[in-house]
């Protein structure tokens, strides 16, 4: 059965990894689209309407891939992790169902209006729909983070009759990591959406197409991006402190800290080695970790050796993905602050180098989201529910390895195809320009 478990792990990683490219993008974009719609309603300036509609079309292409790959998520707990489902269903199923009732319906009913209803409903309802889509997708993220945070820091339950049973719904929902993780993720979504819009606007400016349109979009997105990147400092910090308090072994892995240390340093770089129980080539800021975590330069931070070896997460991947995520976060802050500086000097729109940097930065927030997720999930191993259930005990008993292998191959293939189509369609969309009407009945009157 060992191979079926490993394959299920890989399949889960591939499925979530692929899926998680899209929701942060669409959540971030949804709010920016809502802002543009609001400005249109307020100023009656057609430019905002065109803008919103162009981004809605881009949004639509991304949204459907998020939805299609999201169905796999919900099924996979039962198909590949049935022992997990039996063990935690009493606690874990509720947020998933709540997501459906409170968020998915809202998002999907109104996304139908947003994508297909521009000429079928009133301007007001269209605006309301853009708000509902933004709220729905943001709420949807909430319930998913609740479910996942419960796996990180389980609360509001007790183990009876060989399963986790709910004792307090609100304690389970607002477990210690829910709020810090949720804010961190939503802010990441705003960064992703705004960098995406910035990058494409920069591309249009570089190609000297749709100048007015692109300038306006760039300005809006840059404003969102700089605020979101700044906010990520306190939000990331808030989350890291929570990890230190509730998952000390994960923090020690993030920092490559083997020995329990008073006045622990903050690691900037290194290569942790579990066998040698040391971090090679480490570059540190002395006492900084203690200061950040406890507000006291001499506070004691637990090292990995404090915990049994078999409860250490894989160190290399946890450490590096965490460090790279933080580094990219700092890059986002630097680049957006510099962008605001250029904007204030009225040099933003004709600085070709900077525009190119923005364009090539499009993939980076996606990468950062993935890294953050890898750090969080790999950093929780070997547990599927921290300190309660091991990942290896959670897989389906009855599914043979060969079936998982087959589904893994097919799903990977489908994801690769969907990803290529996504890139291809985005390119085509940019190529044909802003005003080409694609969706809605209006196009017929135009083209016929």
């Amino acid at each position: 059965m060992g191979d079926a478990v490993l394959l299920s792990k890989i399949q889960f990683a591939v499925s979530v990894g692929f899926h998680y490219l899209f929701p942060p993008l669409t959540i971030g974009m949804a709010w920016i689209i809502f802002f543009m719609q609001s400005m249109y309603l307020k100023t009656k300036n057609e430019q905002y309407d065109r803008m919103a509609y162009f981004w809605i079309k881009i949004f639509a292409i991304s949204f459907v891939i998020g939805v299609a790959s999201g169905v796999v998520m919900e099924f996979q707990f039962g198909t590949n992790w049935s022992e997990y489902s039996r063990f935690v269903g009493d606690v874990f199923g509720a947020p998933l169902a709540a997501e459906g009732v409170f968020a998915f319906f809202l998002e999907s009913v109104f996304v139908g209006v947003l994508i297909w209803g521009k000429d079928r409903v009133s301007q007001k309802l269209y605006w309301v729909s853009s708000l509902m889509v933004a709220i729905g997708s943001t709420l949807s993220a909430f319930w998913i983070i609740v479910a996942n945070s419960w796996m990180q820091t389980p609360a509001g339950y007790h183990v009876v009759n060989g399963r986790a049973e709910l004792t307090n719904f609100f304690a389970a929902v607002f477990n210690p990591s829910t709020v810090p993780r949720y804010l961190h993720v939503i802010d990441g979504a705003l960064i992703t959406g705004s960098f995406f819009i910035m990058g494409i606007s920069a591309y249009l400016l570089l190609k000297e197409r749709e100048i007015t349109f692109a300038k306006k979009s760039l300005k809006i997105a840059l404003t969102v991006a700089v605020v979101a990147s700044l906010l990520q400092l306190p939000l990331g910090h808030f989350h890291a402190v929570q990890v230190a308090e509730t998952q000390p072994v994960k923090l020690a892995a993030y920092e490559g800290l083997f020995d329990t240390t008073a006045g622990a340093p903050l690691s900037l770089f290194g290569i942790p080695n579990a066998e040698a129980e040391t971090t090679y080539l480490s570059v540190n800021i002395p006492k900084m970790l203690s200061f950040l975590v406890a507000g006291d330069t001499s506070a004691t931070i637990k090292g990995l050796k404090e915990f049994p070896r078999e409860e250490w997460p894989p160190l290399g991947i946890t450490f590096q993905s965490y460090h790279l995520m933080v580094l990219l976060g700092i890059y986002f802050l630097a680049i957006t602050v510099f962008g605001i500086f250029l904007l204030s000097r009225k040099k933003l729109y004709n600085n070709k180098t900077f525009l190119k940097v923005l364009m090539y930065s499009i993939p980076l927030p996606f990468l950062t989201n993935e890294l953050g997720w890898i750090a969080a999930e790999v950093g929780r191993q070997p547990w599927i529910v921290y300190n309660v259930m091991k990942t290896n005990e959670a897989a389906s008993i009855v599914v043979p390895g060969i079936q998982v292998l087959l589904s893994l191959v097919v799903l990977s293939l489908i994801y690769a195809i969907l990803f290529s189509i996504w890139i291809f369609l985005l390119k085509r969309k940019l190529h044909v320009g802003v005003d080409e009407p694609v969706i809605s009945g209006k196009q017929e009157e135009v083209t016929s």
Partner: protein, 347 residues
């Protein structure tokens, strides 16, 4: 509220979510089943008619899955792991359909559109049939061990009885799709849809009779509840009345009539499935003691209560705005006659 009452309520609520999916997604699945029979212009119409709705229709299934996970985790775990290859195929079909509906209109090239037409058609047929095959297997009973894990094989799931139930589901959805097209489409497609409806109706009637007789002979336990609680006969009566009236409904001046009749038909069928199973959720064969029932598969009282509150707060709201938005999207659109324009403009 006692635990047993909560368990019964959740059995009903899961059934309601499945019913919501079957009725709403049923029309976009059914349109998909007929898609490849349509010509190019009609295919455009098909997509245009269902595009704003398919996603929210599908959420009924997702919420149903979430509710099953939360209320009856053992059923969710047993069924989803037991049906592994079938579910992976279902996921594949659902992904392809979704991409087809949203992507086909983005580029004008005929080869591009043709690929998605096939994806939409085949994906819908595969999904419609698989739902039925899964249902057939649950009705018939699954080989479960004492830990409620599935002990059968994939090919065991492809038994003749379940395959026929699969066909019944396929015709049920197709009938619904044809009825939807009668209500919503324009031009020639209306008459075509009527013909499809009338042909599918014959297959459906034969398959429904076959499955009923076969069930009576092979799985008599499915009838026990009906003899104990005769009021339940109203469910098969609904189905029979719907089948009997359907040809007349096609002739009705109100083009929504066939869709209404088909909706009643689906409600009756899903009601029959629920009434036949209760209180079982997955009956075990050959040893009924291993069956998953609403009593041994459910979550705790606290979870069921919490979830009930969530449902009572959320579901009326969902129904309210779904109805509002669907009416807006359907009404304004048919009034302006843009669809007609679209159907006649050619691509």
């Amino acid at each position: 509220m006692s635990l047993a009452v909560l368990q019964t309520i959740w059995f009903l609520l899961v059934a309601v979510l499945i019913l919501g999916y079957a009725i709403l997604a049923g029309f976009d699945l059914g349109v998909g089943n007929l898609h490849l029979l349509s010509n190019q212009k009609e295919r455009e119409q098909n997509f245009y008619n269902i595009a704003p709705f398919w996603d929210s229709n599908q959420v009924w299934l997702l919420t149903g899955g979430g509710a099953l996970f939360a209320a009856f985790p053992h059923v969710y775990a047993t069924a989803f792991s037991g049906f592994y290859p079938a579910l992976m195929l279902l996921l594949l079909a659902m992904i392809v359909r979704a991409a087809a509906i949203e992507f086909q209109h983005l580029l004008p090239e005929p080869e591009w559109k043709a690929k998605w037409d096939w994806g939409f058609g085949i994906g819908s047929i595969v999904a419609s049939t698989l739902f039925g095959v899964a249902m057939g297997n649950v009705l018939r009973g699954l080989p479960l061990d004492s830990t409620h894990n599935f002990t059968g094989s994939f090919f065991g799931l492809l038994n003749p009885y379940s395959l026929v139930v699969g066909l019944l589901a396929l015709t049920m959805f197709t009938l619904h799709g044809a009825s939807f097209l009668v209500a919503r489409s324009q031009g020639d497609l209306i008459n075509k849809a009527k013909r499809w409806g009338s042909t599918t109706w014959k297959f459906f009637a034969v398959l429904f009779t076959t499955v009923t007789i076969w069930s009576y002979l092979a799985v008599p336990r499915l009838f026990e509840n009906f003899f104990e609680l005769p009021i339940l006969w109203v469910l098969p009566f609904l189905v029979i009345a719907a089948i009997a009236y359907y040809p007349k409904a096609l002739e009705n001046e109100n083009r929504w009539m066939p869709l209404l009749v088909s909706t009643i038909n689906i409600a009756g069928l899903i009601g029959i499935v629920g009434a036949s199973l209760f209180p079982n959720m997955i009956p075990a064969v050959p040893n009924p003691a291993n069956s998953l029932t609403i009593y041994n598969a459910s979550s705790t009282k606290l979870t069921l209560t919490t979830m009930l509150i969530i449902a009572l707060l959320g579901v009326p709201l969902v129904i309210a705005y779904t109805t509002y938005v669907y009416r807006k999207l359907m009404k304004d659109y048919s009034q302006t006659g843009k669809l007609h324009k679209k159907a006649n403009m050619g691509f």
